[in-house]
């Protein structure tokens, strides 16, 4: 088998290995079979066409035909017999369209859908053809890395958080195999291998030079792994992920781009936000809507509230329950609203944000189900990514008086049993007992607990909790009194449960920023709050988190759970005049209305740390870019400085002697000695500086320098080669004569206008040079780069020589010699 055919087979194998990342995409292995068949067919076509010595274009054509025929076999439309017909291509188009729909409908890993399988086979077939052509025809196997990388980028794009590393390793092995095979083939065609000691070795025998190659490869891999760790990124690389351990809800998608919000209301933790990402756009008919809601956590452990998977009926079967007719929530008053919700690319979770008491939904794609208990819209397969749906919902209205009328649930009520179980904690129990002393109704108990979380009681918002060793998480929160929404929501729910009232934690988004008549919701609007079950009213929301920390908080909009902090301000909350004065510092609860400015203010207050981080990241990136640009400009700068110095030299003092005509000196008998005075030394230095500058300018403009040429010949050649006009030509000749006289004559030329001559020559060269050369001369002057390269080469040579001397000395050093000498 000739090298080329063998390379083709290796290319096919590498493509197959390169398809490994697709394992992360598909649920089953059907795709592998089809891809294998496609690649084998293409490789077969390649070998056949090469055996028949077809030209390159015919080889490519053969492979394309093989691909189309294979696809026809695997995905028949039913109208053809092995050979593709027009109907087949229509079928293909249909499959591609179907694949487009499937990518929207399914979350990874996807099931075997014809469309997706077709696209996988087609894509890998194209990659196989490209790699085969690059490797066997164009002999550029290194470029084959690009299509392989393209395959790998699919799971990278789909999974935002992390991608399994094994498929990458497999694909990388395929790539390396390809490179090795190509090199072996090259060596084989060269005929023999160089071993360094003149010995002839077989192709597969390891060469002494291979050790160096292995070392280089290892160094490269280590650098490739370590470098990204050190590079700061915006959305979080490995380092950012390691340093950000805060769960997501409460103020944002903490882990930076998971696309999902963790439904766990932790009682301790830390919240890190890096960038702001737009998640949703909501347009509703309701004025001042309450929070969007998507999830519930009701399983209480000592760490916090956890989520249990929702269950319910699919949307297309059965209608949504009407809260007005349900006994549990029939006593509240309801108002019907309509909202359009548009989800961005960044939010990919299988729980759709809706306003509570959903009664109607349109246009949501994929299969979704509704849990009437948790009041959650969820899906097992689809995600909210790029969904655009509209909902009808009922907004309940309560008053404290109405809620006070709600009777307590009997102890054996299943709801009460389920939602009041708490871990034992004596501290919480005494606290609750203290708070609800004398309160008779459930609502009053809950209000007492709710009011407890106030600024008056020294509760404050913070992005991280403090932990006291030995104390349980909730006790530590209740004592330290700082935390973010998760802690407030979870602690209040816990305490309500202790008081015998069913409670749970709800997750959702605050109102966001008003943008015209719609609201834009970002990851900073993610929030958690408490829901308390009051018989006859259903789950009533209480938001205990201080408003200072929550962008777009709607706390206090409600009569039944007013902003406790606002009530504590000394001025009456009804006093409009006094409110702004105290608002910004003491009572930011005024930021109730969703105004963009206030929200911006709020978010700045909310996450001073993250804002700082962002600033720092921005500054760092700016600094790195500025440094890079500055580094790039160093050669140009060095050139300019050098030129300025030489010009300063050539401008020099005014001519002392009368201008000597360079063409008229003659063998004057008068001057026989070599002139050595300050002026002549200066004139010589000037001429040399001008000449050096001219030579560097020539190098800059890509005019060759011939070391055998005299200044005169160089000047003449420059005029001829660069097609200089008469003025620059005169200037060049003047420079040449000046240098010539400075080098060889008794009397150097004095008083010549070398600086202006240099300017003229430079202008002339720039005029006749191409745009590219001109730019290069200014930005990356070759003279400077050349000088540096030479300096580096010389320095390394010196180092090598020193090392050799040292080694020789070490080798020669023999302690016995000392003995002999001393004897």
């Amino acid at each position: 088998m000739t090298g080329r055919r063998r390379l083709g087979m290796v290319a096919a194998g590498a493509t197959l290995l390169g398809s490994a990342p697709l394992t992360a995409i598909f649920d089953s292995w059907t795709w592998l079979l089809q891809v294998l068949l496609t690649i084998v067919m293409i490789a077969g076509a390649a070998v056949l066409t090469r055996t028949l010595r077809f030209p390159s274009w015919a080889q490519a054509l053969g492979m394309v035909v093989a691909l189309v025929v294979t696809l026809t076999w695997i995905f028949p439309s039913g109208h053809e017999t092995l050979v593709p017909m027009p109907a087949t291509f229509a079928h293909f188009a249909e499959l591609i369209k179907q694949a487009g729909e499937d990518t929207r409908a399914y979350a990874v890993p996807v099931p075997d859908r014809d469309g997706l399988l077709f696209v996988a086979a087609l894509g890998l077939g194209v990659v196989a053809i490209v790699i085969d052509l690059l490797t066997a025809v164009f002999r550029r196997p290194a470029l084959a890395g690009l299509p392989l990388l393209a395959i790998y980028s699919i799971p990278v794009a789909v999974y935002l958080d992390s991608v399994p590393v094994t498929p990458f390793v497999v694909a990388a092995c395929g790539y390396l195999w390809l490179l090795v095979a190509d090199n072996v083939d090259r060596v084989r065609r060269f005929g023999r291998r160089f071993t360094g000691d003149g010995r002839d070795v077989d192709v597969w025998e390891p060469s002494p030079l291979a050790a160096a190659g292995r070392r280089l490869g290892l160094a490269g891999v280590i650098v490739a792994v370590l470098l990204p760790l050190a590079v700061p990124t915006v959305t979080g690389g490995l380092l950012s992920q390691l340093t950000q351990n805060g769960p997501g809800a409460g103020g944002g998608l903490g882990t930076g781009g998971g696309g999902k919000i963790n439904l766990f209301a932790s009682l301790s933790g830390q919240l890190n936000q890096t960038a702001t990402v737009n998640l949703l756009t909501v347009k509703t008919t309701e004025k001042d809507p309450f929070y969007l809601r998507f999830g519930v956590a009701d399983l209480l452990t000592s760490e916090g509230f956890g989520n249990q998977p929702p269950g319910g009926t699919p949307l297309n079967r059965g209608s949504l329950p009407d809260p007005q007719r349900e006994a549990a929530s029939s006593q509240a008053r309801y108002q019907r609203y309509h909202a359009d919700i548009q989800v961005s690319d960044a939010l990919r979770q299988n729980m759709a944000p809706v306003y509570s008491y959903l009664v109607g939904i349109d246009n949501i794609s994929g299969s979704w189900a509704y849990d009437p208990n948790q009041l959650v819209l969820f899906s097992s397969r689809s995600t909210t990514r790029k969904q655009k749906y509209s909902i009808d919902y009922l907004r309940p209205q309560y008053t404290p008086t109405e809620l006070r009328s709600a009777p307590s649930l009997p102890k054996d009520d299943p709801v009460r049993q389920m939602y009041t179980s708490v871990p034992d904690n004596a501290y919480v129990e005494t606290q609750v007992a203290k708070l609800i002393k004398g309160k008779r109704t459930d609502y009053d108990k809950v209000r007492a607990i709710y009011d407890f979380f106030s600024v008056k009681n020294n509760f404050a918002y913070s992005l991280s909790t403090q932990s006291d060793g030995g104390l349980s998480a909730i006790e530590s929160f209740l004592r330290n009194k700082i935390g973010y929404c998760q802690q407030y929501a979870a602690a209040m729910a816990w305490m309500a449960r202790v008081a015998g009232v069913p409670a749970r934690v709800a997750f959702g988004f605050t109102r966001g920023t008003a943008d015209g008549d719609s609201y834009v919701i970002t990851n900073r609007n993610a929030h958690a709050w408490t829901e308390v079950y009051l018989q006859g009213f259903g789950w009533v929301p209480f938001d205990a988190t201080p408003t200072t920390g929550v962008a777009g908080s709607a706390r206090g909009n409600s009569d039944w759970a007013p902003d406790t902090d606002r009530a504590t301000t000394p001025t009456a909350s009804s006093s409009a005049a006094a409110a702004p004065g105290t608002g910004s510092s003491a009572a930011p609860g005024l930021n109730n209305r969703p105004e963009a400015g206030n929200d911006g203010d709020n978010s700045a207050l909310a996450d001073p740390a993250s804002a700082d981080t962002q600033n720092w990241t921005g500054l760092l990136i700016f600094g790195v870019i500025a440094t890079l640009i500055a580094l790039l400009l160093v050669p140009a700068l060095r050139r300019v400085l050098l030129r300025r110095r030489r010009h300063a030299a050539t401008a020099g003092p005014p001519p002392v002697l009368a201008t000597a005509d360079p063409t008229e000196p003659g063998p004057a008998g008068a001057i026989t000695a070599i002139a050595v005075s300050t002026e002549t030394v200066q004139a010589r230095a000037d001429a040399h500086a001008a000449w050096d500058e001219l030579v560097d300018t020539m190098v800059d403009y890509r005019i060759t320098i011939d070391p055998t040429e005299t200044p005169r010949v160089t000047a003449q050649r420059l005029v001829k080669e660069a097609l200089l006009g008469p003025e620059p030509a005169t200037a060049v000749e003047l420079l040449g004569t000046a240098e010539e006289r400075a080098r060889y004559a008794r009397q150097p030329m004095q008083g010549a206008e070398l600086t202006s001559a240099l300017h003229q020559v430079r202008a002339g060269l720039s005029h006749s040079a191409t745009m590219r050369n001109r730019l290069r001369a200014v930005l990356f002057p070759p003279s400077i780069l050349l000088e540096w390269r030479l300096a580096i080469a010389e320095a390394s040579t010196r180092v090598m020589e020193a090392a050799t001397r040292l080694r020789d000395g070490m080798t020669r050093f023999n302690p016995r010699r000392l003995l002999t000498k001393s004897r």
């Binding site: 110095r645 063409t663 008229e664 000196p665 003659g666 063998p667 004057a668 008998g669 001057i671 026989t672 070599i674 050595v676 002549t680 030394v681 200066q682 010589r684 230095a685 040399h688 500086a689 050096d692 030579v695 560097d696 190098v699 060759t704 320098i705 011939d706 070391p707 055998t708 040429e709 005299t710 005169r712 010949v713 010539e740 006289r741 400075a742 080098r743 060889y744 004559a745 008794r746 050349l786 000088e787 030479l790």
Partner: protein, 346 residues
């Protein structure tokens, strides 16, 4: 060597006079030899460098005419020797004959006793006769029968030879060749010059109209002026480098002699003076390398088999050898520490 007569003005000439005198000589010669100003200039340069000139070319291109024109332009003693196979050394140097009247041997000076000796077809004489020139060319003296006779200054041998004709010729021995400062080829005139020659020389020989424009004393002063031309250290180093390169070239069996180094520098000074400079340029050396070196060196057998002429070998050396500039001029101010550009490669 130079033996000025008493009362004659000596010392270098001012540049204007030098220029006028040399221009006059060259213009005079160019009346006869048309369109060959470079060759004429080289011939005059060899005269000013106190050297000897070998004119080598095919018959009929004006070798002898150039020699004669040079001789006629200078008002000094001129002798001509037609080298024939039967020419004897005594015909060249002179002979002692018995004088009946004085009853003593009396020295009859030969043809070399002149300021300018024109040796025509020098390679037709036997080596024995050719060798008679060795002493006088280098040492400017003749020794006959134990008596040494000084030759006058200036003394210049202008010889011609025909490279094509091999029958009945004796190639010049190496020693003899090395004594010639430069070998020049006339080359065919260009069509215009040839046309002018047809119209001007059809009825009479312009050589007959030629008048002397300088005398021996003037030539001596010109020579002195040319000697005063400055050769910087860098130029001298370059000359040494060139000579060394011919000795080290793998294509050359016999390189250029130290005498040739001296002659190269002298001729370069003369050329520089003729061009109105008081300093020698490497350009002068480059231009003179082929005329000065090519006839002395002996290529190796391999190079001869490869039909490499000495001219091409020397000119390749010139084009290969970098200019020494590490120390451009010892009187320079210290440089700014940058490597000289010549070491940068292309």
């Amino acid at each position: 060597m130079t033996t000025p007569t008493w009362g004659e003005p000596t010392g270098p000439l001012p540049s204007a006079e030098f220029r006028a005198a040399t221009q006059a000589i060259m213009a005079n010669i160019e009346q006869v030899i048309e369109g060959k100003s470079a060759t004429v200039r080289l011939a005059v340069a060899v005269l000013l460098a106190e050297g000897h000139l070998l004119i080598e070319d095919v018959p009929g291109v004006g070798k002898t005419k150039l020699a004669k024109a040079l001789a006629r332009s200078i008002d000094c003693s001129v002798r001509r020797i037609q080298f024939t196979p039967d020419l004897l050394p005594s015909d060249v140097t002179g002979v002692s004959v018995y004088n009946q009247e004085t009853r003593d041997f009396e020295f009859k000076p030969g043809a070399v006793f002149a300021n300018l000796v024109v040796g025509d077809e020098i390679n037709r004489a036997s080596p024995k006769t050719q060798s008679a020139l060795l002493e006088c060319m280098e040492e400017r003296q003749v020794t006959v029968d134990g008596t040494t006779y000084e030759l006058q200054a200036p003394f210049m041998v202008v010889a011609t030879q025909n490279p094509i004709e091999m029958e009945g010729t004796y190639p010049l021995p190496e020693a003899q060749r090395d004594r010639f400062t430069a070998r020049i080829a006339m080359g065919y005139p260009d069509p215009r010059a040839e046309l002018a020659m047809l119209s001007g020389q059809s009825d009479h020989d312009p050589l007959n109209d030629l008048r002397a424009v300088a005398d021996a004393a003037m030539v001596r002063r010109l020579i002195e002026t040319a000697r005063a031309v400055h050769a910087a250290d860098a130029v001298q180093q370059y000359a040494i480098a060139l000579v060394t390169a011919t000795r080290e070239s793998p294509e050359i069996r016999l390189g250029a002699s130290p005498r040739s180094t001296l002659q190269l520098m002298r001729t370069a000074k003369a050329v520089a003076a003729l061009e109105g400079r008081d300093y020698v340029l490497p350009d002068d050396l480059q231009a003179l390398a082929v005329p000065v070196f090519a006839h002395r060196i002996i290529p190796t057998a391999d190079a001869q088999l490869a039909r490499r002429t000495t001219d091409t070998i020397v000119s390749e050396i010139v084009h290969r050898l970098p200019l020494p500039v590490a120390n451009r001029n010892p009187y320079d101010a210290p440089r700014d520490g940058r490597a000289p550009y010549e070491s940068r490669g292309r």
